[in-house]
Each structure stands twice: as structure tokens, then as C-alpha cells.
């Protein structure tokens, strides 16, 4: 009670104060009181707030017309047509059957010829009769089979890493790994030419993305310095901002190799954590196929995380990440694609183990692959009017049009015919259709090739349209010679040169 009603002497003091106050003060206070009363009773400010009646709402709902769920795609869309016209029967091995026709396959990413290996199939069948096909659960809920553990162990040993973690899908591997570490507010430096899976991982991480020019170390350093300046301005924020560097070992879109020594140097200089996507370099580069680290003779400890899919050189399915235990283990609770997805079918894991057996036991496999890749690179470079992108040891080659020196270098009639059709489907990308002509020409002569496909509107940076040629170590010299002739012929035929 004491606190609520002032005691009498307080009342007395207050009365005294009123009496002694100057008149102007009293008038001022009275005015203030009037103002407050006016404010309390005046109408609230409302910037013509519209309140809709139920009828109006119903009308609005009636009126609203959503866009169609998807745009129209005719059944004879060139992409669909090319898919339906090129259905493969049976195993897409070195020699495969498309539409009943036997052709040499330089489209599948079967670098080590694992796709045709019988021992892998036998291993898979053996696992099938033990485990069935599906694992029927995520790793956490009885979806961990002993073969998964074995494969993780083997991959870690092969890569000379502390630990490996297995994903059930190649695409999901790096796309889950990046957002497991990099969160909102963190900074990621990325090469412009990275593959789509990385791009999706970047979006999912919601971090600040800084792209540097493809394989341009000066540009990366410029960005690092910029970041350093920013950090100096906000040292508190810099203390909690993790910095990542994401690159590919062998770029799927360009076929070239990242300058790893320089990247590692920059990593230590600017304190970045480096993640390498090795889907195309794992089982390809290096004397033992350990990837880009072995290629440059750099210890795996120097990089923080290596991610790769098992779908290319290994000829299996799924993907894995490897590195230090304290890094990799984090994904077992934070990798979305790991925690929330059924594990890899055990028979595919067994297949991958057998594939690793082959890789580990055949010492000459990689030198042979490099040699063949170099040979094919040399042959392709000879084709006039075309340009081969990428490193000479890379088993994927992107063959694109060289900039036409003058208008006559391309047959105008062909271009005209093609652009008409192309502009319907692809807008500006008429060249793709042109390449398609090449492929059809080659297919008729017994060689299966594929254009490198991209989603034109989704890619961060679109490489020039190209034919992607995959080298298979099992191709014989004769076959290579034959293929090169066919490629040269079809380019010449379609590009109007003889």
C-alpha cells in the first residue's frame, strides 16, 4: 500500500510544488495534458486500410487464374525424341546396342571399363542372395549393412583418409556435404565452372557465395583480399565467419584440372577450408587413381574434404566423402542426404568393393587410361573447325565448335535448317542441334556419342555447347582409330567441309 498511495508528507510536498511553480510552467503542463487527451481520443491513423467483405473475397478467389503447372512440352520435343530414339538395350558397355544396332560407346562414363566387368556382377549377385535388393531404411534405422561399413572402410583406406562416409546417390553427396558445414553467414569461394550438384549445395547452404573465374588463381586471390578487407572492418563478425573454398578436381564441364598446389597455398594463406569434388578425377587421375591430390602429389591432409561419386570410374552407384574423422563424422548427423535417405542397396556396395579390388590390384590401369586419353586428345585436336576443351590426360573431352573464322566455314543451308528447328526448342542454342546432327551421323557409322547436356536457364555459367567424349580404357588402338575417323568425318560432313 505504501508504494501505491504516497504518504501524506509526499502529498504535501506535491501541493507545495504546484503552488510555488511559475505560471508559464503550469500553462505548459496543462497544454501537454490536453495534447495527450487529444491523442488518446483522436482516430487512429489508418492509411485507407481496405477490409474486404466475404463476397469480395469470393470474387477475388473466383477471378484468380493460376499459371499452368508446367509449360507445354510437345511429345516430339527434340530432347524427348533423341531420348526415345536412342534407347539402349542391355549393358551400356564398350560395345552396346542402340535400337538393335551394335555401336562403340564413347558416351558412358565408363572410364575403367568396370561396366563390362563380370566379377563385379558376380559380387553383386552374391550380395543379392544375402541381402536382397533394397536396404529398406536409412542408415540410422537398420539400414546399415556390414557391406556399407566395409565399403566405407575400403574407400578410406584407398584414399588414405581417416574416414569415409557413403551416400546412396552421387548427386546428393556434395550437395549434402556443403550445407552440413557452411551455414547462413559463412563465405564460400567457388570456381565458376563447378558442376550442378555443387551449385545446388551452395543454394541449400544459404551462405554468401563468391564466384571466381574458372581456374583463375589471381581472381580468387583478389576475392580473398576483398574478404580480408571486409573482415578488418568487422572483426567480430569475421571471428565467426567460416570460409570455404569449393572446387572440382577435374571439371566435368570443362575437362580441365584444378591447380591444386596453388589452391592449397591460398588455403593456408587465407585460412580457407578446401572441399574438392572428385567425381571425375577419383579413379582417374594419379598413378593409383586416388584423384587430383595424388596427381599433384599433395597429401590428402592438406585438403579438408574430398567428395566423389561412385557412378563414373567405379561403375557403381552412390557417392562418398572422405577426410579427417572430425570433419567427416559431422555428416552422419548433419548430412541431409545421408540421414534422411535409404542407404545404398547392399548389392551395389558389394559391386563397388569388387571394383576397388580391381583398381587396387591392376597397377597399369591408370597409366593405360592416361595414355589413351592423351592419344584421343591429340587426335581430336587435329579436327578442323573443332576445339577440344580440357586437359590431355582427362578421360572426358569436350568437343566444341571453334569460332568460325568466316561465314563460309559453316554451310549456311544447314545452319538455316537447323536454327529454325532449334529456335523452337532451345532459343539461342542452335549449335546444340548442329552437334546433334554430328552425333546422328556418327551413330549411323557405329559410334555412340552424347552432347554434354545442361539446363540452360539454371546453370550459373553455361559452357559452350559440346560433344562429350568419354574414354574407356578397354578401347583398343584399332577402335580408337576408327572412332576418331568417324568423329572427324561427321564433323566435316555436318559442318560442310570435306
Amino acid at each position: 500500500m505504501m508504494a501505491i498511495i504516497p504518504a501524506t508528507w509526499d502529498m504535501y510536498d506535491m501541493l507545495q510544488a504546484v503552488i510555488q511553480a511559475p505560471t508559464y510552467h503550469l500553462i505548459f503542463e496543462a497544454l501537454l495534458i490536453i495534447l495527450i487527451v487529444k491523442l488518446v481520443f483522436s482516430k487512429a491513423y489508418a492509411p485507407d486500410k481496405t477490409i474486404l467483405t466475404e463476397k469480395e473475397k469470393d470474387e477475388l478467389i473466383e477471378e484468380w487464374k493460376p499459371e499452368p503447372l508446367v509449360p507445354d512440352t510437345p511429345d516430339d520435343h527434340p530432347l524427348l525424341r533423341s531420348m526415345e530414339n536412342n534407347i539402349i538395350t542391355g549393358r551400356p558397355d564398350k560395345i552396346m546396342t542402340i535400337n538393335g544396332k551394335s555401336v562403340i560407346n564413347m558416351a558412358s562414363m565408363n572410364f575403367l571399363g568396370m561396366l563390362g566387368d563380370e566379377s563385379i556382377e558376380v559380387a553383386a549377385q552374391k550380395a543379392l542372395s544375402k541381402y536382397g535388393v533394397g536396404s529398406c531404411g536409412p542408415r540410422g534405422f537398420y539400414g546399415t549393412m556390414d557391406v556399407h561399413l566395409e565399403l566405407e572402410d575400403r574407400l578410406a583406406k584407398f584414399m588414405q583418409a581417416e574416414e569415409a562416409i557413403l551416400y546412396s546417390y552421387g548427386f546428393a553427396t556434395i550437395a549434402s556435404a556443403i550445407p552440413a558445414y557452411s551455414k547462413r553467414g559463412d563465405v564460400i569461394f567457388v570456381d565458376e565452372g563447378v558442376c550442378f550438384a555443387i551449385q545446388k549445395g551452395l543454394v541449400a547452404s544459404r551462405s554468401v557465395i563468391k564466384y571466381f573465374k574458372h581456374n583463375d588463381m589471381a581472381d580468387l586471390e583478389r576475392l580473398c583480399l576483398e574478404q580480408q578487407k571486409e573482415d578488418k572492418k568487422l572483426p567480430k563478425k569475421a571471428k565467426v565467419t567460416r570460409r570455404f573454398l569449393v572446387v572440382e578436381g577435374l571439371y566435368a564441364k570443362h575437362g580441365d584440372i584444378c591447380p591444386l598446389p596453388k589452391l592449397v597455398e591460398l588455403k593456408w594463406k587465407y585460412k580457407l577450408r578446401i572441399f574438392i569434388e572428385e567425381s571425375f578425377s577419383f579413379g582417374v587421375l594419379g598413378d593409383n587413381g586416388r584423384g587430383v591430390t595424388e596427381h599433384f602429389n599433395i597429401k590428402l591432409d592438406e585438403v579438408d574434404l574430398v567428395a566423389a561419386c561412385l557412378e563414373n570410374a567405379v561403375g557403381g552407384a552412390g557417392g562418398f566423402c572422405c577426410g579427417k574423422k572430425y570433419i567427416v563424422d559431422h555428416q552422419r548427423l548433419s548430412g541431409l542426404g545421408y540421414c534422411f535417405s535409404a542407404s545404398l542397396p547392399p548389392m551395389l556396395a558389394s559391386g563397388a568393393i569388387q571394383s576397388l579390388n580391381i583398381i587396387e590390384n591392376d597397377q597399369s590401369l591408370f597409366s593405360r587410361l592416361h595414355q589413351k586419353s592423351e592419344k584421343i586428345h591429340k587426335e581430336l585436336s587435329k579436327i578442323e573447325g573443332m576445339r577440344v576443351m580440357g586437359d590431355k590426360v582427362a578421360p572426358i573431352k569436350h568437343l566444341s565448335l571453334a569460332e568460325p573464322s568466316d561465314d563460309r566455314s559453316l554451310d549456311n543451308r544447314t545452319i538455316e535448317k537447323i536454327t529454325q528447328e532449334a529456335s523452337q526448342a532451345f532459343g539461342a542454342l542452335a549449335i546444340l542441334i548442329l552437334l546433334w546432327e554430328c552425333l546422328n551421323f556418327a551413330m549411323e557409322r557405329g559410334l555412340a556419342l552424347t552432347p554434354a547436356r545442361y539446363l540452360e536457364h539454371e546453370e550459373h555459367q553455361l559452357p559452350p555447347p559440346s560433344i562429350r567424349i568419354a574414354v574407356n580404357v578397354k578401347l583398343t588402338e584399332d577402335e580408337i582409330a576408327k572412332c576418331m575417323d568417324i568423329i572427324a568425318d561427321s564433323c566435316h560432313a555436318v559442318l560442310g567441309k570435306s
Binding site: 508446367v70 530432347l79 531420348m83 536412342n86 534407347i87 558412358s108 529398406c136 546399415t144 559431422h330
Partner: protein
């Protein structure tokens, strides 16, 4: 009216206890409170879903338990920091100049709470994940920081794997067909659909899936998770609005985020909330600009894997038609497991699948394989085949995986000439009803729909969850327990997944074990009147006594 419905509410109310009226944390409504939409009684009449309210004492003790765990955790963290207690986990080395990869508080939960019951997850098995499985024994010498495998294994009943129709088998017609395909095709397809990775087996599979679903066309993807995350961005974009159920699976959340569209969540399976928000969205358009939304997509699951609830599909459909939205239905847990013909929730409600704009599902669960599908109009599938991330950037399905789906799907469809498929569907349904009813009888709080193959049994206390899992395993029952962060913090639960491969004897044996362990751990919290229904569909609502 279902005896489990109205009657219950009355009895409960006279007791002064409002069992499962409106569940505060996840908005479940139960036992017939859905009657507000009573104009559509034909599906409501055979609808029974229960989300009994958490008993107050359980909630209080659980919070106290967490409080104690957090306190002890902080004390032990402190001791580890000053070096009294040794570090047994693998910790991040301090690199000079580098910002630490993990914040200490981020892993507090993992280090101090999860670690205590870590042995309940990631249990490796060394057999097929069928009705029985061989769980490998693990030993830990440091209280869960590290595990070592011993050579021993234990054969237990499997109530944890998603093997709804029992197609996780290592012998039989499916396995034989897969074996042949493996030697014909190898184990990988070597490229994406658009880059010469489209095999005849994929075409066969796509066509079969479309036929199975009753839609014009379908496309398959090698991973269920990726089916959502790689296809949703092709359907909606910036300027579109996604209504997502608050308990949707991580893949749907990720997929929605990758689209760039605005995402709004609504209370779990709460159609009133959805309608309110839908109406507001259509009337007011986009925030600030008030431009109308380009498209509105409602994303729902058929059966939610943590709650065992079934989507109120007829109601969603009504809202879709009224507000001209599109439906994305994820049938991961319902395809094969729900409906008289095993065609998912669409079949369960007798809805024309062509009314659903995007039918999505996975092959991991009922088909004993891997991967996922999207089905719909030819226009939709053509668009996806040209523009889906999965069709362009990643290899198509491994042939053996595709063959397993083809074989099992043909059996479910009865194309093998035997009634085996339908028998399995029926067996699963009977198992579900029987198992759920018995659990209610035993006095457990069981969440979800009586026809849902996912059966969550509420445990609440995290320590008891761990104990439940261990005690069950000891007695020969392999099951899954889930806790925070997969569930609300106090709602740790055990989850059983039923299978057509479970025989009545197995189910009875499992129930005995659950009864024993439940008595031991005092888990029989339920105060709800025991619902009574028959396993047989025709007499589903007739009390059995």
C-alpha cells in the same frame, strides 16, 4: 459412427479429462473432432485417428529430465575444458587463424545427450532386412563415444525397417529376375537419361509405374530423397507459393527451399488452418506488391513417418479445387501400404489419381528396392524429362534396382497370375489393425491412423526411449526409437513399422515383448477408452466383443 469416435469424447469429458482434444504441439486433432467438415461423411465414417494428449506428469518429468541432463552436460563440458575429464570423442584440432568448423554449443546435444543412447541407432545388420534380421553386436568401452564390432550377431524380429509388403527378400521371383538382369545389364547405367543413359528397362519401368498409379505417365529417379529435391525446382519458382505441412519430410523441405518460391507452413494435417491461409494467400497475393501468386502448390505426404497420420486427402482435394492450387502428394510411406489394391492413399480414399497433380513416391519401402517416381499428366512428365535435374545431371537408375521394382510391382498388380500381391496387401492391413488395437488395449499412447503402417508408441522420457530399444532388442525385437530433434522435445517415441511378412505369431510375440518392457518401464500412459475395431474392413467399425 465409429465407436472410437464420439463415444470416447463423451466418456472422457465426463471424467474431466480432455484426452486428445487438440494436441497443442503439432496441431493434431483426434477422435472425430474433424466432424466440422461433416458434409463429406462417407470417408469420415471409416476414419479413425488418435493423438492422445500428453499426460501432465509425463511432460513435467520429461522436462525435468532434460533439465538434469543439460545441467550434467554443462558440468561435464566444464570438466573436459579444464582437463579433469578426458576427451574421448574426436575433437576438432585448433588450427591457428582458422575459424572453428563447429561451434561448441552446436554439438552440445550430440555430446551430452545423444551420446548416452547412441547405441540405439545405426545398428549394423548382416542379413536381409526382412521380417527377421541379424543385428551385429557392438561393444563400447567408453560409454558410447566409440563402438567396436564383435563377431557375434543376434537374430531378431524386424519391426524397424520399411518393409511394408515384405519384398525385402533374398529369394523368390524378384530376386531371380534381378539376378538375370544383373548379368545382362551390369549394375549401373553409365549416364544420365539425356546423355545416353536411358535403357529399355527404364522405359519399361516408367510405363509400368504409370499404369500402377493410374496416371498418364511417370518418371523414375534413382534416389527417393533426390526425387523431391531435384524435381520440385522444375515445378514452381519465384513468385509462386508453397503450402507445406509443418511435419513434411526433410527432402520436401529442401526441395521447396531450392525452388526459390515463398514457403508457408500450416499446422499438421489441419485443413482449417490450410484453408484460412490459402484464402488469405489468394485474396492478398504476394506480400508488399500484392501481385497475385503465379501458382500455389500444396505439398502433403500420404502417411507421415513420425506421426503415423494419414493425409485428409478428400479435404485437400476440395481445397485444391476451390482455390485452384496444385497438389504435390508424397506417397513415400503410403504407396503399396495403403488402399485395398496397395495403390497408396489415393486408393485408400477411392480418389481418381488424375485429380492429384503430382504423384510422388518412393520404391524403398513397399517395393524393397530404391529410388522414387513422379507421376502425372503426360505434359508434366514430358516437362520433367526435359528439365528435371535428375534427367540431365545424374545417372539413371541402376538396372537391378529397376528390375526389383518391376518384379514386385507386377506381383502387387497381380500380373504374375497369383493372388500373392493382394494377399500381402491384405495381410499388412490385418497386421496393422490388429497390432494397433492390441497396443491400445495394453494401455499405450499410440499416435496416428488405425490404417497407417507406421505405429508410433509414445515414451516421452528420452532415457526410457533408449532403455526401451535396448530391452526390446535383448528380448529379440528390433525396433526404432526417435527423439528430439526428429520429434517435439518431450515426445520421444518408439516406432514400429509393420510388414506383410510378419505372421500373426510374430506380431503376438512382439506384443508380448512390448507388454513386458512397457510394464517394466511403466509406459502405459493411456487414459483413453480402448477403441474396438475388427481387422476385417467390412466390419471395421463393429466392436469385436
Amino acid at each position: 459412427m465409429a465407436p472410437g469416435g464420439e463415444v470416447n469424447l463423451e466418456t472422457v469429458n465426463t471424467n474431466g479429462k480432455i484426452n486428445g482434444k487438440v494436441h497443442y504441439s503439432n496441431g493434431h486433432k483426434t477422435n472425430g473432432t474433424h466432424h466440422k467438415y461433416g458434409h463429406d461423411l462417407d470417408w469420415r465414417s471409416s476414419w479413425w485417428e488418435s493423438f492422445e494428449e500428453t499426460p501432465l506428469y509425463a511432460a513435467v518429468w520429461t522436462y525435468l529430465g532434460y533439465g538434469l541432463l543439460v545441467l550434467v552436460g554443462h558440468i561435464r563440458d566444464f570438466m573436459r575444458n579444464i582437463g579433469i575429464e578426458s576427451q574421448k570423442s574426436c575433437t576438432e584440432p585448433k588450427l591457428p587463424g582458422f575459424v572453428p568448423l563447429y561451434q561448441s554449443w552446436e554439438s552440445f546435444y550430440t555430446r551430452n545427450l545423444y551420446r548416452r543412447i547412441r547405441d540405439c541407432w545405426n545398428r549394423p545388420i548382416c542379413s536381409v532386412a526382412g521380417e527377421y534380421m541379424d543385428v551385429m553386436e557392438r561393444k563400447t568401452y567408453d560409454n558410447g563415444w566409440n563402438f567396436e564390432l564383435t563377431d557375434k550377431s543376434q537374430r531378431v524380429m524386424n519391426f524397424g525397417s520399411y518393409n511394408y509388403l515384405g519384398f525385402s527378400e533374398n529369394k523368390g521371383p524378384c530376386k531371380d529376375a534381378v539376378e538375370i538382369v544383373t548379368s545382362q545389364y551390369g549394375i549401373t547405367s553409365g549416364g544420365s537419361r539425356q546423355e545416353l543413359g536411358y535403357l529399355d528397362i527404364h522405359k519399361e519401368l516408367d510405363d509400368l509405374v504409370a499404369q500402377y498409379l493410374g496416371v498418364e505417365a511417370a518418371m523414375t529417379v534413382p534416389m527417393g530423397f533426390a526425387t523431391n529435391s531435384m524435381n520440385m525446382p522444375c515445378l514452381v519458382s519465384k513468385g509462386c507459393l508453397i503450402f507445406s505441412d509443418e511435419l513434411n519430410h526433410a527432402s520436401l523441405v529442401l526441395g521447396s527451399r531450392l525452388t526459390g518460391a515463398t514457403i508457408k507452413t500450416y499446422k499438421h494435417n489441419d485443413m482449417e488452418d490450410l484453408e484460412k491461409k490459402l484464402k488469405q494467400a489468394v485474396v492478398h497475393g504476394q506480400p508488399r506488391t500484392h501481385r497475385p501468386w503465379k501458382k500455389i502448390l500444396i505439398v502433403v505426404e500420404g502417411v507421415w513417418s513420425m506421426e503415423g497420420s494419414v493425409v485428409c486427402l478428400p479435404e485437400v482435394l476440395r481445397l485444391k479445387k476451390k482455390y485452384k492450387a496444385y497438389i504435390y502428394l508424397d506417397e513415400a510411406h503410403s504407396i503399396g501400404a495403403m488402399g485395398p489394391r496397395g495403390r497408396g492413399v489415393v486408393d485408400y480414399f477411392g480418389i481418381d489419381p488424375r485429380d492429384i497433380d503430382i504423384m510422388m513416391g518412393t520404391f524403398t519401402k513397399s517395393f524393397g528396392s530404391a529410388g522414387g517416381y513422379i507421376g502425372g499428366t503426360r505434359k508434366l512428365i514430358n516437362h520433367l524429362r526435359c528439365n528435371s535435374h535428375a534427367a540431365v545431371y545424374s545417372p539413371s537408375m541402376p538396372p537391378p534396382v529397376a528390375q526389383q521394382i518391376i518384379s514386385s510391382m507386377k506381383i502387387i498388380m497381380g500380373k504374375d497370375g497369383t493372388g500373392e500381391g493382394l494377399r500381402r496387401v491384405q495381410q499388412l492391413k490385418t497386421n496393422i489393425r490388429y497390432f494397433r488395437r492390441r497396443l491400445h488395449e495394453l494401455g499405450y499412447i499410440i499416435y496416428g491412423n488405425r490404417d497407417s503402417p507406421v505405429v508410433p508408441l509414445l515414451i516421452y522420457y528420452p532415457a526410457r526411449a533408449g532403455c526401451f530399444s535396448r530391452e526390446c532388442l535383448k528380448r529379440g525385437l528390433g525396433t526404432v526409437v526417435v527423439g528430439f530433434p526428429a520429434t517435439p522435445i518431450i515426445e520421444s517415441r518408439a516406432r514400429f513399422c509393420l510388414s506383410a511378412a510378419h505372421t500373426r505369431e510374430m506380431v503376438d510375440k512382439a506384443l508380448d515383448i512390448i507388454d513386458e518392457v512397457g510394464t517394466l518401464l511403466k509406459l502405459k500412459y493411456s487414459r483413453m477408452e480402448v477403441p474396438q475395431w475388427c481387422e476385417d474392413d467390412k466390419n471395421a467399425n463393429v466392436p469385436i466383443h
